[in-house]
């Protein structure tokens, strides 16, 4: 009989995520890792939290490590390599791992990447000048939150980041964008400034490749708050200078139009992502394809986890550059692909897709048997565009019933949708469709939502659903500045281009004055950084097709966004074919008379000091193509109220919080996919839809949900129905129980942060695993640190394990809490009552709380306790709040030292002190 075990090769982010996901779906997993520890490259990275979370995602690695090492369904083998593989006749593989043979049904390769070897660019001086380091070196130096100068052994008063080292560089065979470097440099720049507030940071870059929910905000803050300078230049050389050991960077100053030299204490090379050196051997072992750069190639671009070898899947950066959040999501995708293939193998037992009743990883698990709840395996899908239909299709494949609610009269949405998909919606008995309908009300909680939908003619349908997938898309409109041009024939939106007929296709449609047979097209991509990568591919395709038709092409954009696979190649192709790319700083002006004239300042044409002619370019255009900006659908805020989910940046669904990526919202069982959570390319929207369908199916697909995590419970006898908990719960997991006349926590919906328990004025709520009695039993007369499980506790444990540090010796009393939001005013006061001379609370960075807002509440409560102490004449500085990332052991030590110093200076709270 074939082994059902799945082997995941590589315990980096993607591998761990795949293993966790498979285990949560009921599979048995072996996770093998060549190093002696799990975590992969990212385990060496540093939390870049400053005054707030900078969305670097590094904390996710710590959660993954905890999850994969604590689940019995996952066997972890470190220090092991995959030495050989032999396909078995019945499917699956016999693997040789560390001298042992093991059979498995599927293999997921998650072997990651190698950072580009910076010595491959010798002119940049890596390994020669001590002032030149790589971004990876800086990651390690930033780790643990200690002083940078000490770690690096040099001053860091002036720091330069050099982008695109080993990326977008044909000289070293890297004709692709590494996708992650702009954002990591930006975050590191902020972290450097935070540690050294007087440091001057300069970023030498080509184009800013934004990623995440709101990269523009991060860049604005870096520029405005931290004074980070962005210089669009690719330094040609780094040379040492003088005795001070500083490094001299040669670059072409775009403002002066001349070469310049600038000296820096530290030059950080933002090295790109290169394929792992063993990738080729693994590819040969399984007969996989690799792309021209050496990354594993999927069999079909539409499903990046599936390879051409049966039973072999890929996840993470071994398939091309990915950031941490993308690698986590990739793990879900790979797990889904594995499960689908296994289901296909057992095609006749459709229901036998081996999903087990859902649990939810990453929370405090209660010992003992989990509580099993009957849940509805129907999933409500809001929006019948491509994302919604893809979600429904996948749900049906996974054995769930889907009900699509579409506001318009037809399915299809903006992209229309392939006819096969539309036909599937029509024929699939597991998919019901309500058109011209909208969700009016949603009651209940995950597993048992009660939806009221209003259809045509006031027809009301009630739908019971276990989960909800929101796929309502976004609204695309021309940017404000060009909106009044929308009615002109010679101005066209980028996404409408193909639908309207390409203006350069066929001479007869082209009525402009064209020189030499072709016309002149201006393509203006002026969208926000978070939407740029979704539209740039289209812009490049448009440019190439116009060039092919013999047209002259100008592409105007603040940044050329090419992080998507293959886009750098298209960009170079377009340039090679004569397209002119203008990277403007000020918005172009359009003179719209009888003809169109676009005026744009091109910084590379000069215009600096001493230049008489500013770098203005006037382009008489036959056609102006403008990329549409993405906006939330007009009903988004109303729908958010109905669903009780939060909106994030720019009003799209989903909070800007790394723990929610890719598709989670603040409510369990409600997922946001595609354009409704921010502008997305069609392929990204489909990916979202599949992941959400998989997560929903894992949660409720079997009709049962195992709640094995700690939740809050209300004592109805003590509940005054003040509604505080209901208003406070970030996850909207509490409702009024009319029968009991008390608040009631839905165990399935509760995330277990305990914020409600600490906020309850009647002390009617307790959190399992962390009750008030349990907390108070740990309070001693020692200086106390309440530490969040997800961040400060990990740092504290590292700090205490790292030898005879002052903390353990002085007996700091560390009390773990699932979230700093569980720490109540009364816990802090009780610690003082017990004789603690000082108390600290340490939690995640703002906007990085696993539970959304627990840390902000904790911070407020610490402030309240400080003022309460003052009212009874006790020094308020005895109570302190710190943001500590999970790797920040040195920062934890510093905070602990500071707190203990306060305790030593002020002494115990006893007797009136002299004076």
């Amino acid at each position: 009989m074939q082994s059902s075990r799945v082997v995941v090769v590589g315990a980096g982010v993607a591998g761990m995520s795949t293993a966790r996901s498979l285990a949560a779906a009921g599979a048995r997993v072996t996770l093998i890792e060549a190093r002696e520890r799990v975590g992969g490259m990212a385990a060496d990275y540093a939390c870049k939290g400053t005054d707030r979370c900078n969305k670097c995602n590094v904390c996710l690695v710590h959660d993954l490590v905890r999850d994969v090492t604590s689940r019995p369904a996952i066997e972890v083998m470190t220090g092991c390599r995959l030495d050989g593989a032999q396909a078995l006749p019945a499917g699956g593989y016999r693997l040789r791992v560390g001298g042992r043979e093991a059979d498995c049904s599927a293999v997921v390769l998650a072997t990651g990447f190698e950072p580009f070897d910076a010595s491959g660019r010798p002119e940049l001086g890596y390994g020669v000048h001590p002032a030149v380091i790589t971004a990876l070196d800086l990651e390690r130096a930033l780790r643990d939150g200690g002083a940078l100068e000490e770690k690096l052994g040099r001053p860091v008063a002036s720091v330069a980041f050099v982008q695109c080292v080993g990326s977008r560089d044909l000289r070293c065979g890297r004709g692709y964008c590494s996708r992650v470097c702009c954002m990591y440099s930006l975050r590191m720049a902020r972290a450097v400034r935070h540690r050294n507030p007087s440091a001057e940071v300069t970023v030498f870059y080509m184009d800013f490749q934004g990623a995440g929910k709101d990269p523009g905000d991060l860049r604005r803050k870096a520029e405005a708050e931290d004074g980070v300078r962005f210089i669009r230049a690719r330094p040609s050389e780094v040379a040492p200078v003088g005795d001070d050991g500083r490094a001299m960077v040669w670059f072409e100053d775009p403002d002066a139009g001349a070469c310049r030299l600038a000296a820096f204490d530290l030059v950080v090379l933002a090295v790109g992502i290169a394929p792992d050196r063993d990738a080729r051997a693994l590819a040969d072992m399984f007969g996989l394809g690799v792309d021209e750069f050496g990354f594993f190639a999927p069999a079909d671009r539409a499903d990046a986890a599936v390879t051409r070898a049966p039973g072999v899947f890929i996840a993470g950066a071994c398939g091309g550059p990915r950031d941490i959040a993308e690698s986590v999501a990739d793990g879900e995708r790979a797990a889904l692909a594995v499960l689908r293939e296994q289901a296909a193998r057992r095609a006749r037992e459709r229901a036998a897709l081996s999903l087990s009743a859902g649990t939810w990883p990453g929370r405090r698990v209660l010992p003992g048997k989990p509580e099993t709840m009957e849940v509805s395996s129907t999933v409500l899908v809001l929006g019948g565009g491509v994302a919604g239909m893809e979600a429904a299709r996948m749900l049906s494949d996974l054995g769930c019933r889907a009900v699509i609610v579409e506001e318009g009269p037809y399915l299809g949405g903006q992209a229309g949708g392939a006819s096969s998909l539309l036909a599937r919606m029509d024929e699939d008995a597991s998919v019901d469709v309500l058109v011209s309908s909208r969700l009016a009300r949603l009651g209940g909680q995950v597993g048992s939502f009660e939806a009221t939908c209003e259809g045509p003619g006031g027809l009301v349908s009630e739908v019971s659903a276990g989960a909800v997938i929101v796929a309502t898309g976004c609204r695309r409109e021309l940017p404000e500045a060009t909106r009044e041009l929308a009615s002109r024939d010679d101005v066209v939106g980028l996404s409408a281009l193909e639908e309207m007929g390409l203006p350069w296709a066929g001479g007869e449609e082209n009525d402009g004055d064209c020189a030499g047979g072709g016309g002149r097209a201006v393509i203006w991509v002026g969208v926000r950084p978070d939407t740029a990568r979704a539209v740039f591919h289209q812009a490049l395709c448009a440019a190439l097709s116009a060039l092919a038709a013999g047209w002259e092409v100008y592409v105007l954009a603040p940044e050329v966004a090419v992080p998507e696979p293959g886009d750098e190649r298209l960009y170079l192709e377009a340039r090679g074919a004569g397209a002119v790319f203008v990277k403007y700083r000020e918005e172009p002006q359009v003179e719209a008379g009888a003809a169109l004239r676009v005026i744009v300042m091109d910084p590379s044409l000069g215009g600096g000091a001493g230049d008489d002619v500013p770098g203005a370019l006037a382009i008489d255009a036959d056609v102006l193509v403008v990329s549409e900006e993405a906006y939330p659908q007009s009903g988004t805020s109303h729908l958010a109220t109905v669903l009780q989910v939060n909106a994030g940046p720019a009003g799209f669904f989903q909070d800007d919080n790394v723990n929610f990526l890719p598709v989670l919202t603040n409510r369990r069982g409600i997922f946001a996919v595609g354009g409704c959570r921010g502008a997305a390319a069609l392929s990204d929207a489909i990916f979202d839809a599949h992941v959400a369908a998989y997560l929903a199916a894992r949660l409720v697909g079997t009709g049962r949900l195992h709640v094995d995590w700690a939740t809050a419970r209300v004592d109805p006898k003590k509940c005054a129905l003040c509604l505080t908990c209901i208003r406070t719960c970030p996850h909207r997991a509490i409702d009024v129980d009319g029968e009991a006349r008390a608040a009631k926590v839905s165990r399935a919906a509760c995330w277990g942060c305990g914020t409600c328990a600490s906020e309850c004025p009647g002390k009617a709520i307790c959190l399992e695993s962390c009750t008030d009695d349990e907390i108070l039993a740990q309070v001693t007369p020692a200086v106390t640190a309440f530490c969040c499980d997800h961040s400060a506790l990990i740092a504290a444990r590292t700090a205490m394990a790292s030898g005879p540090s002052g903390v353990a010796a002085a007996g700091l009393n560390v009390i773990p809490v699932p979230c700093s939001g569980k720490v109540d005013v009364i816990h802090l006061l009780k610690a003082f009552e017990q004789g603690a001379a000082a108390v600290m609370v340490a939690g995640c960075f703002d906007e990085g709380c696993h539970f959304l807002s627990g840390n902000r509440r904790a911070h407020l409560r610490v402030g309240e306790v400080a003022s309460l102490l003052r009212t009874v004449g006790i020094e308020p500085e005895r109570v302190r709040f710190y943001h500590i990332g999970p790797d920040m052991s040195a920062a934890f030590l510093k905070a602990a030292e500071e707190t203990m110093q306060v305790a030593r200076e002020l002494g115990a709270v006893t007797g009136r002190r002299a004076g």
Binding site: K718, L721, C760, L868, L869, I874, V909
Partner: protein
């Protein structure tokens, strides 16, 4: 609900001068809901009293007890087994609660820990506003459901006065002019005609003019 606010610690400590055994008594109804005197606030205040004593080098024994409603004899009775052991009872209930305990336990020294402020609602979490003065003669039928007696700074019945500027009261920019609200609401309801009939001077005899008030329902009296 009745909205209250805890007194300053200085004031409470001054009241408690000389007491070495204090019972902090909470109430599980209005003051729990307005977060001034429920079980949690009892714990916080008790903790603060112990810390204050520790700071001053005194010893103090602080008990904690919260009853369902301090304004009911039966609930207050539950304090009977413990109350005798204390020098003072610090009630976190409203004025009615303090007095109920005082009346029930003649020998006990009962002190108020909160100031009873008003009948109101939480405008949002953490902020309460006054809605009703308990004037004894409700006119909300004529004012669009907005009470000028409680919500106009002058309790004007024929407002607004000249101090209403841009919809705000001259007393404070935080106060919306009640008469502006009344006008807007009646306009929205299409009932501005209600404003054409002026109010007669208010009959305050139904309020405090007749002394302490009493409500009697003979049918349910035994």
């Amino acid at each position: 609900m009745i909205v209250a606010e805890r007194k300053s610690l200085d004031e409470i400590l001054a009241m408690l001068q000389g007491c070495s055994r204090v019972l902090v008594a909470g109430c599980g109804t209005c003051v729990t809901v307005c977060m001034a005197g429920g079980e949690k606030e009892v714990g916080v205040l008790a903790s603060l009293l112990r810390l204050a004593a520790r700071r001053d080098g005194r010893t103090v024994e602080v008990g904690e007890a919260t009853v369902e409603r301090q304004c009911e004899w039966e609930f207050v009775d539950r304090l009977a087994p413990v109350i005798g052991g204390y020098d003072a009872v610090l009630s976190m209930g409203c004025g009615a609660g303090v007095q109920t305990i005082a009346q029930r336990f003649g020998g006990a020294r009962v002190l108020p820990a909160v100031n009873t402020k008003f009948i109101g609602i939480p405008e949002k979490q953490g902020m309460w506003v006054e809605m009703c003065l308990g004037c004894g003669d409700c006119i909300l039928d004529r004012t669009g459901g907005i009470c000028p007696v409680a919500r106009c700074s002058k309790s004007l019945l024929n407002g607004p006065c000249g101090g209403s500027q841009g919809g705000k009261c001259e007393v404070s920019q935080d106060i919306t002019c009640a008469w502006q609200l009344i006008y807007d609401r009646l306009a929205a309801l299409g009932r501005l005609d209600l404003l054409e009939k002026e109010f007669a001077p208010k009959d305050w005899s139904k309020n405090r003019d007749g002394g302490p008030r009493r409500v009697t329902r003979e049918a349910i009296m035994l």
